[in-house]
């Protein structure tokens, strides 16, 4: 029991100490290959938005909060785009079982995102995503400058606020 607790505490401390440092560095998007809905390969490091920051949302067809997030943002997306020029990459981690449902869901829900397939979770693993939804904002240099886990109604307002700050060159936490 003592040993377990010791290890438990050690793992906690070491992780938190890494976490505490995380705001001081920026991670670059890795050159991991994902696929478009047509099956074409594209590297995450090639994601771009004409020199502007962009957003990456990890999601899955079976993840209810993800659908809530993407549906809510879909209603605001046009307005956001006109206002800020935002671009959202929606990276699905659906595997061979649910992957065929991605395309009908995207078109049936009338989403205008750049939808990518990460069928064997390669990009998910490389970016340290535990569970969807997990949202990133990447700056014009391809550096991850902000991330958030989970979705609750209202989080989309926070996302666009942070995006505008990054667009204006402000520091975000």
């Amino acid at each position: 029991m003592k040993k377990f607790l010791l290890i438990f505490v050690a793992v906690m401390i070491s992780t938190l100490s890494i976490y505490a440092q995380s705001s001081t560095f920026k991670s670059i998007l890795p050159s991991i290959t994902v696929n478009t809905l047509e099956g074409k390969p594209i590297k995450a490091s090639e994601f771009s938005n004409d020199g502007k920051p962009f957003v990456i949302c990890f999601w899955a067809t079976w993840c209810k909060p993800c659908l809530m997030e993407l549906n809510t943002m879909a209603e605001l997306y046009e307005e956001w785009q006109t206002e800020t020029g935002i671009k959202i990459y929606a990276v699905s981690i659906d595997d061979a079982r649910t992957c065929p449902k991605v395309k009908p869901l995207v078109s049936g829900s009338d989403w205008d995102y750049e939808v990518m397939l990460d069928q064997n979770s390669e990009l998910k693993r490389a970016l340290g995503v535990n569970n969807p939804p997990h949202t990133f904002i990447v700056n014009e240099k391809g550096e991850i400058v902000w991330q958030h886990v989970g979705y609750a109604p209202g989080d989309e307002e926070n996302l666009i606020e942070v995006y505008k700050k990054i667009l204006n060159g402000e520091e975000v936490k």
């Binding site: 390969p41 067809t61 993840c63 009908p104 979770s121």
Partner: protein, 566 residues
């Protein structure tokens, strides 16, 4: 153990010293910990936990510097939480790799994950929450000699809990190659063509040393030695096409003779076919899929049953439910043989239309069905079973009479006004207990309902109310015990903090106590760190992700989860 601990601490502290900017490289990773305290509860069948405290934890640490990356995963199961295989007990580095990536070449040494096509003959993956990990340990090479062409080669052994796989000959060696060509990328002339075509093919072979195996005639004691194949090969071909609003994805796979513990040591060859057709227009999406699985269990150890050492991936062609009562009777692929179909239609009712109202609405329809194969069995062997024989023959296009699973789902999502959003769902399920390890029992037929209302409050806070109802006339005791009702209320404060209460009540149970499975949880969420604490009762059940299922035993107590990414 202590040594590992020191190593871990040294690694993490040295990372901090370098401030995560080591020689120009970057360090990222994630962390998850699940801790459980469960007490004995004879009413729900929760067993005594002699350790009192159980914990699973892992952390991934990944270093990237330009084209080079390397990483490790430290895992600790001290001891494994309820439902995880006891063989996970222990701690250590379960995963480590180094990788070099250029545009035309990628080399990974150590542990890796990979998938060929739809995974019919090869998929190495992890599902941490199921305790499922068949990571390869070996070498992976991906070459892209021309634009639109990808060649992959893999060789290695698969993870088996903490087993020293390289010192034990009973773990087979997996080798595979795959080629994929995007015609439109390869040939410039077709680049802008509305018809997009991608073709691919793969070959996989498992080398598994043959053990001595005999069939014994009971009355005379005569022995017949089985000649087991040591190299088990498989091949697959696939095509993916899209033309305007239409798309098609098809794959066919064949596996050589592979007598093993899952198929009862028969010498029949394996076969799998998969076809998916889709139509996608603005506001309408349709997909129809069909598959045939025949004797396709493919493991890197002949005698292995269960979820480990799978070389391929054969997911269930059924909907993956998120509402818990809808997932009461989940279907898992019958790898020894099944034929299945599934259809999905997703339609958006437009805003300001007659049916859609001011905000529009989302409609979803799903149907799926799986049947047995139409098998014609061969004569029995002298021992009275099919071991060593071909087992059976079956015709490709004909499904068997026995139904394994059938399900029909309707879902309606509707924004009522600027504050309220409603989701309604109905499901009809016919469930053959054979799919759940209860052969010989009668079918379960269930009607399941859910209503889920989200209310937006001020200051980015929200409330969620949810009611689910499962109606069934089947009442067989423990695993099929009549009707259920579930209610949930959840309050979310500014996206940071949440508190929820759930009660799942088996009010239709005929014998014994009608148990309330109540559960209270609180959570805190900041950036990429999430802490959740729950207290209550968990019913005995099955959780399934991607068609692979794990039983979860009953428990009564405290459960804590921490996840973080960095």
């Amino acid at each position: 153990m202590k040594r590992l601990l020191i190593v871990l601490l040294l690694i993490t502290y040295s990372l901090n010293v370098f401030s995560q900017d080591i020689f120009g490289g970057k360090v990222t990773g994630n962390f998850q910990m699940d801790a459980q305290v469960s007490k004995e509860d004879s009413v729900i069948g929760a067993e005594k936990v002699s350790e009192k405290f159980l914990m699973n934890a892992f952390t991934n640490i990944l270093y990237t510097n330009g084209d080079f990356s390397a990483g490790v995963r430290f895992e600790a199961y001290l001891n494994p939480i309820l439902g995880f295989d006891k063989q996970y007990k222990g701690a250590g580095l379960a995963y480590r790799f180094a990788s070099y990536k250029k545009d035309y070449l990628e080399i990974t040494a150590g542990n890796f994950y990979e998938q060929f096509g739809n995974g019919l003959i090869f998929r190495s993956y992890e599902e941490r929450n199921l305790g499922l990990d068949n990571a390869m340990d070996g070498l992976k090479i991906i070459a892209r000699p021309f634009r639109g062409v990808a060649l992959k080669g893999v060789i290695g052994k698969q993870r088996y809990y903490w087993e020293k796989i390289w010192e034990n000959e009973s773990f087979g060696l997996v080798r595979g190659v795959d080629a994929e060509v995007s015609i439109n990328s390869l040939i410039k002339k077709f680049e802008a063509s509305p018809l997009q075509v991608i073709v691919g093919g793969s070959f996989v072979s498992v080398f598994d040393k043959a053990e001595e195996r005999f069939i014994i005639e009971p009355s005379t004691g005569d022995n017949f030695k089985l000649t087991l194949p040591e190299n088990i090969g498989s091949g697959a071909a696939r095509v993916q096409m899209s033309y305007k609003a239409f798309n098609l994805n098809a794959e066919y796979a064949k596996k050589g003779q592979d007598p093993n513990a899952v198929n009862g040591y028969i010498f029949n060859e394996g076969e799998a076919a998969y076809l998916s057709l889709g139509y996608a227009a603005k506001g309408l999406g349709i997909n129809v899929s069909a598959k045939r699985i025949d004797n396709m269990s493919y493991k890197s150890r002949r005698g292995e049953t269960g979820n480990m050492l799978n070389v391929n991936y054969l997911p269930a062609l059924t909907r993956q439910h998120s509402y818990s009562l809808f997932a009461m009777y989940p279907y898992a692929t019958q790898v020894n043989g099944e034929m299945g179909v599934q259809a999905d239609i997703i339609y958006k009712l437009k805003k300001n239309s007659f049916l859609g109202g001011k905000y529009g609405a989302d409609l979803k329809f799903n149907y799926s069905r799986a049947n047995a194969l139409d098998k014609e069995y061969v004569p029995l062997n002298p021992a009275g079973n099919y071991e060593g024989t071909q087992g059976y023959t079956s015709s490709f296009f004909k499904a068997g009479d026995e139904l394994y699973y059938e399900e029909l789902n309707f879902e309606l999502g509707k924004k009522l006004n600027s504050d309220f959003k409603l989701n309604l769902m109905y499901s009809y399920q016919s469930f053959n207990p054979i799919a759940n390890g209860h052969p010989g029992e009668k079918f379960v037929y269930a009607n399941v309902f859910a209503a889920d209302l989200t209310q937006r409050l001020k200051n980015r806070s929200s409330l969620r109310y949810e009611v689910q109802l499962l109606l069934t006339e089947q009442n067989y005791g423990d695993w099929a015990a009549g009707d259920w009702i579930q209610g949930t209320i959840e309050y979310n404060l500014g996206g940071r903090f949440f508190v929820a209460a759930t009660d799942q009540w088996n009010y239709g149970k005929l014998e014994g106590e009608k148990v309330h499975y109540y559960n209270f949880s609180v959570g805190y969420n900041k950036g990429t760190t999430r802490v959740q604490l729950s207290y209550g009762k968990q019913r005995e059940g099955i959780i399934c992700i991607g068609g692979v299922c794990r039983p979860i035993p009953a428990s009564n107590g405290l459960f804590a989860t921490i996840t973080s990414s960095f």
